[in-house]
């Protein structure tokens, strides 16, 4: 701030455009954009064509294929894109602090508004470009080979479709995206930390969801509510209030009245937020981590006088005598424990984990609370039924945690550039990757325990008489908890054989989509759907609970079968991951055979035999 402009006004304008152009090119060159594009196209396509992926607020509100339904799809997707906006605009404003490049940029004579607004413009352009996946995904839905009826949007004539999509994009989506981007841009500028910005964004979205969230089915908003609800759901509902079924099936509202004023108010708010961001921006470099951690001991500064220290003060002899390493079983166990502890602490210490857990728990508690409302027409008061409800309400949190942290954990050393230190240490090959899987399993187990505790808390608060904790084990933890744990192992394994974190995430998302697609195609047998034991399905449908081999139920055998498979996956992943500086998957896989000659190979062989034996026994039982 306070820096003199180097050139005339024309120069300042071109500087902002130049910054915007650089930002746009920089972000478009990032693999994150490619991943966002790929995933969002798949998600839009999936939500338009696969029932299992259909987004709640889209279902059964407006006639399928109607202009109003298309408009609402755009509105809902702007909510999904809020986190994309967050990632892109926060990166634009925080990149210099994170990379340590800030001092160089801030020492230039560029004015803060030119620099900052240029960055925002570039990042927002990327968000808007990514959002084009919504019309693209909806268009592709018309040609999806797995559907036998026209999708919602494809039944509208082309000319009318252009009009409808233009209205939805320009009037509804882009102002929403601008508002979200400006809000998160200001937030990131204020807090100057990616983690804090994400946490703030989650808090704001939770506040929005709890307060003025979209409730299209119960849409009778007052004028003030329609004006003040920022994303236009209420305004759209108000603008279409009193429409007949025929009107809802064919019309779009005019951009006038409350809808127009809602858009104007929130466009103005977006500009105000950008103006605030310029005011909030501080040229001073971000303060590094404080000097002392909260756990700084009271004896700080006092040098300890231990025998080892005295050795040290005598000089080189201490290198050989201070503490000699040993390499037995006890050391290996200590190494696994230390690695697992570090990895676990790393996940628990991130704001994103707290946010995901809180979001999941909030959603689960809200869902269970409404399901146990004494006034509800179909009130649930049985622990087993509530456990089923908990599955639906909470399942996103463990899947999201497994997806996110599999990548973060597996690639942490390489991203933090400490992989050479760890790889050069005398730890077993498996001790590089395996503790990451252990840590993720521990984190998920904590998450599941928290969700069960929350459900029991709801039952207790509602005064249920016959609370049965065991029902949560049999109806929630065993079928679904185990499935999510196994998913985490799959996610870690896929990361380990991928050339990078983003590719690993991509493979894992594809595995999830493939699972949905199999279900959609009617292929639901537990023995080929990874991790599934709840729907033993077709082959066993005659008596799914009938005892299988050795008196265990078929679902129990399926859990053993997939657990053995997961062990096999993990052993292969440990051998494939390798250690050292080689990033290429092919080169790492080249050493797989050599690394499989030790204990990893034995474990893999045992797991493979178990998979084959249990699978054969299950198939025999099915026939």
């Amino acid at each position: 701030m306070g820096r003199a402009p180097p050139r005339a006004a024309q120069g300042k304008r071109s500087l902002a455009w130049a910054v915007a152009g650089f930002e746009l090119r920089h972000q478009l060159g990032s693999p994150v954009v490619a991943v966002v594009v790929a995933i969002s196209v798949l998600m839009v396509l999936g939500s338009a064509t696969i029932d299992a992926l259909r987004i709640g607020p889209l279902a059964a509100v407006d006639p399928p294929g109607s202009p109003l339904a298309v408009a609402r799809v755009y509105l809902v997707w702007t909510l999904f894109f809020l986190f994309t906006s967050m990632a892109f605009v926060a990166d634009a404003v925080l990149r210099d602090d994170i990379t340590g490049f800030g001092a160089i940029v801030r020492a230039t004579p560029a004015r803060v508004p030119d620099d900052l607004l240029g960055r925002f413009a570039g990042a927002f352009a990327v968000v808007a470009l990514c959002f084009m996946n919504v019309p693209i995904g909806l268009a592709l839905a018309g040609w999806a080979p797995w559907i036998d009826q026209p999708p919602d949007a494809a039944s509208i004539p082309w000319g009318r479709q252009a009009q409808v999509h233009g209205f939805a994009l320009l009037v509804l989506a882009l102002p929403n995206l601008l508002l979200g981007a400006a809000l998160f841009f200001a937030l990131a500028t204020l807090v100057r930390s990616m983690g804090a910005a994400y946490l703030g964004a989650v808090a704001l979205l939770l506040a929005y969801g709890l307060g003025a969230g979209p409730s299209p089915s119960s849409a009778q908003p007052t004028t003030s509510a329609a004006l003040l609800e920022p994303f236009g759901f209420a305004a759209l509902a108000a603008a279409t209030q009193g429409w007949t079924e025929a009107e809802r099936a064919s019309r779009l509202p005019m951009l006038s009245g409350v809808l127009l004023w809602n858009r104007v108010v929130w466009l103005a708010a977006s500009l105000a937020l950008l103006w605030a961001a310029c005011g909030l921006y501080r040229v001073e470099p971000r303060r590094r981590a404080p000097g002392a951690s909260p756990s700084a001991p009271s004896s700080a500064g006092a040098r300890p006088r231990t025998r080892a220290m005295e050795d040290a003060s005598r000089g080189p002899s201490s290198v050989g005598t201070a503490a000699a390493p040993s390499f037995g079983r006890a050391t290996a166990v200590a190494q696994y424990v230390a690695r697992t502890r570090l990895e676990t602490r790393r996940v628990f210490g991130t704001p994103a984990f707290a946010a995901l857990m809180l979001m999941g728990l909030a959603n689960a508690v809200a869902s269970l609370w409404s399901a146990t409302d004494p006034a509800a027409p179909q009130r649930l008061d049985d622990s087993a039924a509530l456990a089923q409800r908990l599955v639906e309400a909470f399942r996103l949190a463990p899947v999201a945690v497994a997806l996110l942290y599999s990548g973060d954990l597996v690639w942490a050393e390489r991203e933090g550039r400490v992989h050479e230190l760890v790889a050069a240490a005398p730890v077993p090959d498996a001790a590089v990757l395996l503790p990451k899987a252990f840590a993720l399993l521990l984190v998920l187990a904590t998450l599941l325990a928290a969700s069960v505790a929350a459900a029991l808390g709801v039952e207790w608060a509602r005064g249920h008489a016959g609370i049965r904790p065991g029902a949560y084990v049999s109806a929630y933890l065993l079928p679904h908890g185990v499935e999510w744990l196994l998913f985490a192992v799959l996610a870690v394994s896929l990361q380990a054989v991928s050339p990078g974190k983003l590719a690993g995430w991509g493979w894992t998302v594809l595995a999830l989509i493939a699972s949905f697609a199999l279900e959609r195609m009617g292929l639901v047998d537990g023995w080929y759907r990874y991790g599934r034991s709840d729907s033993a399905a077709a082959a066993f449908a005659a008596s799914p609970e009938a005892p299988g081999p050795l008196g265990l139920s078929v679902p129990a055998w399926l859990r053993l079968y997939w657990t053995a498979f997961a062990v096999l996956l993990l052993a292969l992943a440990c051998a494939a991951w390798g250690r050292g500086t080689e990033p290429r998957t092919a080169a790492r896989l080249a050493g797989l055979g050599r690394r499989m000659r030790g204990p990893l190979g034995t474990v893999a062989l045992a797991a493979g035999v178990a998979v084959a034996a249990i699978g054969a026994a299950l198939l025999g039982q099915a026939r």
């Binding site: 201070a322 390493p325 570090l342 050069a424």
Partner: protein, 292 residues
């Protein structure tokens, strides 16, 4: 103790980073000199089991490193040229973690060793600060601490003094010198002064090959009466370079001091100069370049 034979490493893009490196090192500090891109870091990584060479062998104290990398790791302390830090982890926590990985399983002994090492590298006061909050020099000292913990018998340090102020640099070199009295220390650097100050043996690596090795004093003595110096105007340097095998030039007070290698005086205005290790280094590099 360390015996490297015919080591070759070719990267997938065809770059021949190591082209038949043969090198041996007894206990003590061996200075490995070489310009950027000479193959020093590739050699360090092969030596530390972080990448498998295309061909050749590495032996250390009876260990076949390529066949038994884990045994070598049990004797190894490694400071890479560039390393990062885990976020939100203090110096003491991280050093303890690495100490476990290096085989210090006993909690009490480990804590003592970690505290002693932190004191030894001058990080005791900063032991409970997060690694992110340490200055560049302190972070480098942490790197040395983690390399030395666990009683290594082979210490490999890659550019350890890069970016350090003179005081930090002296402290670190003293530490390596004291360690080098017992174990094999490979000090890879392109800073000739570090090697001249510290190493009883030196090897020069250029374009993937060892071009010269020996004791610095012997190498310098071999150049006695073959180094000449003069001071010329800046615009005369290029003409001189065309005519004479120039070792180095240095600008001073608007004129250029030139050092030239020749068996007899190159001409009027030149005076004999006492050779330095830097002269040896530049002479070796010049000889390793293909003739134009």
């Amino acid at each position: 103790m360390l015996d490297i034979r015919d080591l070759v490493h070719v990267y997938p893009d065809g770059t021949r980073a190591l082209d038949g490196v043969t090198l041996s090192a007894p206990a003590g500090v061996l200075g490995l000199l070489g310009p950027n891109g000479a193959g020093k870091s590739s050699l360090m990584r092969c030596l530390c089991t972080l990448q498998r060479p295309t061909a050749g062998s590495i032996g250390f104290d009876g260990i076949d490193v390529l066949a038994e990398p884990q045994r070598l790791r049990q004797a190894l302390g490694y400071l890479p040229q560039d390393f990062g830090v885990y976020p939100r982890v203090t110096a003491r926590q991280m050093l303890e973690h690495l100490a476990v990985l290096k085989g210090l399983a006993d909690r009490h002994a480990r804590r003592e060793a970690v505290d002693a090492m932190l004191a030894r590298v001058g990080l005791w006061e900063a032991r409970d600060r997060t690694l992110e909050g340490l200055s560049g020099g302190m972070r480098r000292r942490f790197g040395v601490a983690q390399a030395l913990i666990g009683a290594p018998r082979l210490v490999v340090v890659d550019e350890p003094t890069a970016g350090l102020d003179p005081e930090e640099r002296n402290r670190l070199l003293d530490l390596l010198a004291s360690v080098g009295e017992q174990v094999v220390v490979i000090l890879s650097t392109h800073i000739v002064e570090d090697v001249a100050d510290l190493c009883p043996r030196v090897a020069v690596l250029a374009a993937g090959r060892i071009r010269l090795q020996g004791a610095p004093a012997d190498l310098v003595a071999a150049m006695r009466d073959r180094v000449w110096r003069t001071t010329v105007p800046h615009d005369a340097v290029d003409a001189l370079r065309m005519r004479l095998p120039m070792l180095s030039t240095r600008l001073s007070a608007g004129r250029t001091m030139v050092r030239v290698q020749a068996d007899v005086s190159p001409g009027p205005g030149f005076e004999a100069a006492a050779p330095t290790l830097e002269d040896v280094y530049f002479s070796t590099l010049a000889a390793s370049r293909p003739a134009r």
